[in-house]
Symmetry: D2
């Protein structure tokens, strides 16, 4: 049986702005809750049709003191039009109700800081962090609602014992084309 300590500690998020929360959230401050980070881009079709509705379902289905959903706007293409102002309009029109953060733009390249730190492959990416702050799922593309429910249910049940095996934390492969298909947008 693997303990939570055997899973990689989730590195702190690096954000430049927050929407839908009076103050910035930190993973350190969320210890004791399961944290679900949905990384998306507002112009990513798979995020809009599948990922964000799923994030909303998690936000609505689980108690606030057990599960924290965070939307993470990880812009790696079309930077000039996916601005904070555009995101605010998007969040308002789509009536998203959970906290959403803007990934800190990189000073060096197109990929923002948190996205790089987590070696994400594109959007949508779902990251689930356990109550001890360890990464338990790191998935690029779509996952069935039942699968996501299972993982969150497992993490809520384990309390301070780590029981879950998962597909987590494999370093992602960097692909050389930036494009969106039905699955999502790759870097």
């Amino acid at each position: 049986m693997k303990t939570s300590e055997q899973y990689p500690l989730a590195p702190e998020l690096e954000m430049s702005a927050w929407i839908n929360t009076p103050k910035a959230l930190t993973l350190a401050g969320l210890k004791g809750k399961v944290v679900v980070v949905h990384a998306f881009q507002m112009l990513c079709p798979g995020c809009v049709s599948h990922g964000l509705p799923q994030a909303t379902a998690i936000h609505e289905m689980f108690a606030d003191d057990e599960v924290q959903v965070i939307g993470l706007h990880t812009v790696f293409e079309h930077h000039g039009v996916m601005t904070v102002e555009a995101l605010q309009a998007f969040v308002s029109e789509y009536r998203l109700a959970f906290p959403i953060a803007v990934d800190l733009p990189s000073t060096l390249g197109t990929i923002p800081s948190t996205m790089k730190k987590y070696s994400m492959q594109g959007t949508p990416t779902l990251i689930i962090i356990d109550q001890q702050g360890c990464i338990r799922l790191h998935h690029f593309g779509s996952l069935h609602d039942m699968q996501v429910g299972k993982i969150i249910g497992s993490l809520l049940a384990e309390g301070d014992v780590a029981l879950l095996t998962d597909e987590a934390s494999t370093p992602s492969v960097m692909l050389d084309d930036t494009s969106c298909d039905d699955t999502g947008c790759r870097i």
Copy 2:
């Protein structure tokens, strides 16, 4: 913290026939697995459009040695046409792959034995039984895939410790009309 012993023990299923399994299954023989019983009728629209696809998703998503899905054909209306032969044709045409049992007809009334024993209100009904054989969910109507995934994930994670709070095992209310709507078919 409630232990599994505090939940009602699931009474044994009473079946008259089985499909998709070489031998009859018993709850006693399934100890150590989470058991998901999907009670349905082949002419119940909500079962066909939602319940049975969900049961199939559970069957496909979880390992055979962890979760056992059982379809339970609980005929309480139109007995003359929802026969075993009709069910076999239905199972074949819909390509259902998990074990399906025919609830033992009652000698006294219209409601079959297992349905009566569990005080089910109609179809679809979802019953989830933990690894110790206790009822942890007893739900009439539809449940979101994420909710079902959460419960199964919780029960798999608890091992021999019962951690879950749930909506389980409230004695169901017997309604006086037999009719189907978008939710399902009531007794």
Copy 3:
């Protein structure tokens, strides 16, 4: 420009029973209306999930004096369980509201009379007949709602002039296996 006379005259339906209508319908009696015949089997998954909801949409969307929807129960397999009584229970539970007829069983083989006369390949089959009683569409499998709407709209607009080109009335190929898949059930 093809005139309606160039399309094959739709042979009269041969039915053994009717549901949802006080008296039997005949194509002769429906001249002046566009007639949409949806051939189905109650145990055909593609009929239940797609074909019958589409037939219901046509029934609800078009005026009764312009378009007549007829459900045609063309049983070519599992005859022992898809009886008139079973169909009545099915129609009641699924709340189908348009006239539904039972195709006259053959005295010789498994394929009922109207199905044979029209050389249908399986279920679902959609047949659309113009105001002059000619076959304008003969399609096995699913069709997009927009495509069906286009054809009906065209036939309503042509009045007594035939303007439409279509895929109609090619003699269907008889296949040698009886099986259902996502598309439908073949003979």
Copy 4:
């Protein structure tokens, strides 16, 4: 019987930019085709989930020499972020393949020129223009695919005779709140 002349002539579109076409389209130049104008905003949820997929279905289902689909980006809110550059990124990511035009911004108010000229109430709005250039449908909100198919089918069939009755061309009511719901975004 109403003739096409009895329907209002569709006023010419006023555009500031075009995407997916080598040259600007004009209604005058499209005489002889049925023209389907889908007015949308890239941040309108009902347009993204329903209207644009329907426009794509029309574009794919009907022959290019019979039906011309035009996307019309009628920005009446969030002007600062729904720019031409943002629209180009959106069209690229969503892989929209039909010609899309940017409604000419007004020098006086928030509502662009074509939107004002047609008295549109919000997005999505569907306008269908017959082969003679007359408005035959003017609808705010969603329409069933079958309904849209019926109207286009009727207009293709009528040739140079106008047979269709429709809900067209009622002057729209101007509402005083700008907001989006499941139906669309109102002015």
